[in-house]
């Protein structure tokens, strides 16, 4: 996909997120919108994955550690053909395969049952080591929220990946600056995040998390170390009244807000 096509995919993902969350009356819309362009770039032009053969052994692994952004992942997977877009309507409905957090055993394309924070990073370290042992060229990506980096398990994983010099691993931080209740800087400051990762043996790539070309480059440039892509993002990206507002972590838009949001997103 070229940048234009990725942008089109991102727009469609945001529209599906809006439909899905409105239909279910629940979801984490702020974090879904901040991670949308990252997912669109990865699934549009980076990942070696095949919706017709989602478990092929040499596929690239993508682990959504911020499992609460399930609707963003579901929308992306559906639009890329892993399952029918129609299924998104079942999100969070009784007995749906589409739980509030993703389930590998129910949804093609999901690699691990995430939700509790700080779980995806160690798993991605494991898939990266596995790919090196199997020598199959598979790459591993883990997408984390920034607030999630307060979990100690991530730093166990970061230390070990640096030690093993895993050049087939990329950790993506959706750096929207907010956690559930308030800005990360007010809760438990993460900066200087770049220096933290550098000191753990990582190469650091600071990018605008809504710039497709910059994201693509960060995801595909050759590596000599494990790489962290610190993607500066805006929580609620794409809808002006949601952008940068903590309350849109898991607020559901009203009928008027939904229409207004749809209109804004549709023009992008």
């Amino acid at each position: 996909m070229n940048t234009r096509e990725i942008s089109d995919l991102a727009r469609e993902i945001r529209i599906q997120i809006l439909h899905t969350i409105k239909g279910a009356g629940m979801g984490h819309i702020g974090g879904d919108f901040s991670v949308t362009d990252i997912l669109a770039t990865l699934f549009g032009s980076v990942l070696n994955v095949d919706p017709k053969n989602p478990n092929k052994s040499d596929r690239d692994r993508i682990i959504l550690s911020k499992g609460h952004a399930a609707v963003a992942l579901y929308s992306t997977l559906a639009l890329r053909g892993f399952f029918p877009v129609e299924d998104l309507k079942t999100f969070a409905k009784p007995l749906s395969n589409l739980n509030g957090h993703p389930n590998r055993n129910k949804v093609p394309g999901v690699e691990s049952n995430t939700g509790p924070l700080g779980h995806g990073f160690p798993i991605a370290v494991g898939t990266a080591i596995g790919a090196q042992l199997a020598k199959n060229g598979s790459r591993s990506f883990v997408i984390m929220g920034d607030g999630e980096l307060q979990e100690g398990s991530n730093w166990e994983a970061a230390m070990f990946a640096g030690h093993r010099k895993l050049t087939n691993l990329i950790a993506v931080i959706d750096r929207n600056g907010f956690q559930q209740g308030s800005p990360t800087a007010k809760t438990n400051e993460l900066d200087p995040l770049d220096k933290k990762f550098e000191s753990f043996g990582w190469e650091v790539c600071l990018v605008d998390g809504h710039d497709y070309a910059a994201l693509h480059k960060a995801f595909t440039d050759p590596q000599t170390k494990p790489r962290v892509v610190i993607a500066q993002t805006t929580k609620g990206k794409g809808v002006d009244f949601m952008e940068g507002k903590a309350e849109w972590h898991h607020k559901v838009p009203s009928a008027e807000q939904y229409e207004a949001a749809l209109e804004q997103v549709g023009k992008q």
Partner: protein, 316 residues
Amino acid sequence: MSEKIEEFDNRIIFAKTLIALANEDSKIVVVCNDSVGSSNLTEFRDLFPDRLIDVGIAEQNMVGVAAGLANAGFTPFVCAAAPFLTGRALEQIKADVVYTRTNVKLCGMSPGIAYGELGPTHHSIEDIAWMRALDSLPIVLPADEAQTAEAVRWAANMVGPVFMRIGRYKVPSVSQGQSPAFIPNKAMRIIDGSDVTIIATGTLVSRAVAAAAQLKVEGISARVINLSTVSPLDTIEILAAAKETKAIITAEESVTRGGVGGAVAEFVVQNHPIPMKLMGIDSFAPTGSATFLLEHFGLTADSIVASARELLKHGK
């Protein structure tokens, strides 16, 4: 008794079996937490340096990495001291291994009060209750060398998560040449009897066997069941014990609340209630060696005999 009974450290046969399996199957890997020595894996590391992944002292990462390796098509054996594996990484076990249903073999080394004088921080008496609470996780407690070898081989060949305990201190053989020594999902009846049933696990099995011998002298016929698989519970064998004998004693090196005793009692009370006595370790241990602590908590053949007498007296 003057004859010295030969005893075995299950970790030795565990490592031997893993090496044999690794020779047969290139997908077998080990993940550990600075526990190469304590898990007896030095030889494995020397033979397969790339296939032993030592994450250092980081249990959450250890279990997550194992889940990732399983996702990548490998069969990881996580080898770590049972208290740290099950306590520190409980949520990783729940979400990344059991809920995701990854093919990870969780091997709790040196479980129960094996670490003796090191104290309750290093004892693993809660692990069985914690693991039992997880949906459909097989829990295997090999009692001796033969069972350990067969259980490890079974775990490697089945697809899905398993938790098993690998004992530290030496224990005598209880299988006595029985073949197979271990049958998946089955309780092993090693002595038949009609008055009382002793359901024992792991290190307590040999003590249950000794208790049965003493009871026989007193004219009490004791059945001994080695419950080497706690989950899924062999309900056919337990129901038979409840129907065919007058009382059930459970003996385990762990808390009975939610432990082996809890598992058996939950079934018995709902299906065929009979008098029971649950013997285990229900409090943090004082200072002492493993041998001392087993006596301290009444986990001896003599105490099992006394419990049997007491139960049968009340049952009359």
